[in-house]
């Protein structure tokens, strides 16, 4: 038999307890409740209770099991005035949620009583469209997108690895991307370094990268450092960033990036390649091994040739650089299981992908229990590319 709205609300009141704002406030202080805001997205954006999950009523049945998989979890639903949340709560009870209450008076009553509420980042209309596919993912959503926009990521190198990493970080809306690279665009780079273009040959890579990234996403602030990373500038450059992405092309810089990250406690998203093979990992100080735990000493000079010496399939850094971008985004969002203590290894000719568990070395000279390296050293000398002071310079060319 058809029912009027009043009858529907009466039906709901028979099964849904209605709590006033004071009861809700006390409950939130004392117990692990899920707070569900069932208003439309634009209402939520204008202000909501702290910790509330936005789930507009139109999507309630479709998404609630993804957001609240445990049906024993108690839920407080609220809307603007208490009507929509009453109907939503009844629906949740019918879906098997064991304890659901509706907040009488809704957000309006809450706010009028001077109780705490917050307003999220106000996205522009363009941002709402640009990041709409992220907003659909509960693991990202508006909160995650806001974190991405606030994040600062420093890329070491705008070459084969740095190119795809930078592209996807910019597309994802990582708000500040710093790039350290002293080099200029060369014709031989264009087989794989997709940030750069033929008409920019001779242009500093950081400038070319800035042009490409800002053309893709004007939201992103790109800061170029056209200098060689060194023991003198590394700590200063890293200090302003949340995540460091190592896409460099030589061992002295890899050890320098590692040591500086350990000293500053910053995550180092590592990627490296050779011909048809590549590897990636996340070295997170205090949470897993560092690069030196795996490779306490560099290989002898000449034993591990660079891409310029040994060649590289152009698409390979695309694969590894995308893994680095993905891991960086996971770290920023705090979702999933980052590659901490694990290394992914790609052998693209056989298309074998392996993940190995890695161990932290308690005797590691930089992150171990009794570190012997407590300040940045001369990494060219450490890698045997320059004899100690007084011994005369030998081939110091970085592996390019």
């Amino acid at each position: 038999m058809p029912k009027t709205v009043q009858e529907l609300l009466q039906d709901a009141r028979r099964v849904v307890p209605e709590w006033d704002t004071e009861q809700v406030r006390k409950a939130l202080d004392s117990q692990d409740w899920v707070l569900l805001d069932v208003r439309e997205k634009d209402e939520y954006r204008e202000g909501h209770l702290p910790g509330a999950i936005s789930l507009p009523r139109g999507f309630l049945e479709l998404r609630v099991e993804q957001l609240v998989p445990d049906k024993r979890k108690p839920i407080i639903a609220y809307c603007a005035g208490g009507t929509r949340s009453l109907l939503a709560a009844k629906q949740l009870i019918e879906m098997g949620y064991e304890k659901v209450v509706s907040m009488a008076g809704g957000f309006t009553a809450w706010k009028n009583q001077g109780l705490p509420w917050k307003q999220d980042r106000q996205f522009t209309a363009e941002q709402l469209t640009r990041y709409s596919r992220h907003f659909l993912l509960p693991e990202v959503g508006e909160d995650g997108q806001s974190r991405l926009l606030d994040a600062k990521v420093l890329l070491i190198g705008a070459g084969g690895l740095g190119s795809p990493t930078a592209f996807y970080l910019a597309a994802a809306g990582v708000g500040t991307i710093g790039i350290v690279d002293h080099d200029v665009v060369d014709l031989s780079n264009l087989q794989r370094q997709i940030l750069h273009t033929h008409d920019r040959i001779g242009m500093p890579k950081v400038e070319s990268a800035r042009m490409t990234l800002q053309a893709l996403n004007p939201d992103v602030k790109v800061i170029g450092y056209q200098e060689r990373l060194s023991s003198e500038n590394a700590l200063r450059l890293f200090a302003d960033y949340d995540v460091i992405v190592d896409g460099c092309d030589n061992f002295p810089t890899r050890y320098l990036v590692n040591d500086a990250c350990v000293m500053l406690g910053k995550p180092n998203v590592h990627g490296s390649i050779f011909q048809f093979e590549g590897q990636a990992s996340v070295f997170y100080p205090g949470k897993g091994p560092c690069y030196r735990c795996l490779f306490p000493e560099p290989p002898p000079p000449g034993a591990a040739p660079s891409c310029a010496e040994a060649g590289v399939l152009g698409v390979l850094p695309g694969l590894v650089g995308c893994v680095q971008a993905l891991e960086t985004i996971k770290l920023i969002l705090g979702v999933g299981k980052p590659l901490i203590g694990r290394m992914v290894y790609f052998d693209t000719l056989s298309m074998e992908v392996r993940i190995h568990k890695l161990r932290r070395d308690p005797k590691c000279p930089v992150c171990g229990e009794q570190p012997t390296i407590t300040k940045l050293i001369d990494y060219e000398e450490f890698c045997g590319l320059r004899t100690p002071v007084g011994g005369g310079a030998v081939a110091a060319a970085a592996a390019r």
Binding site: G159, D246, G247, F251, S272, Q275, P296, R359
Partner: protein, 86 residues
């Protein structure tokens, strides 16, 4: 190593720059290496002629292992060098 000890057979794979140490005649990987019971990762490295100072990760049966680890018969060993390129 005791020559009288029971032989063990390992399945070995070398990666990237370590491929230069593939035994002569080996074309497909993984390849088989025979050592003796009680042999360690370091014995395998010596057999393959990989210098001690060549940085590498030794993965035995999927886990990073120190050079002192004793190998079991049938173990799968993969050796990975650090890669410079980017």
């Amino acid at each position: 190593m005791e020559e009288s000890a029971r032989p063990i057979r390992l399945s070995v794979k070398l990666h990237a720059t370590l491929r230069r140490y593939l035994p002569a005649g080996v074309e497909a990987e993984p390849f088989s290496v025979e050592l003796f019971e009680g042999a360690r990762v370091s014995d395998l490295l010596a057999r393959l002629g990989i210098p001690d100072d060549h940085a590498k990760i030794c993965i035995v049966d999927g886990e990073q292992s120190p050079k002192e680890r004793v190998l079991r018969d049938g173990a799968s060993v993969a050796l990975f060098p650090p890669l410079a390129g980017g």
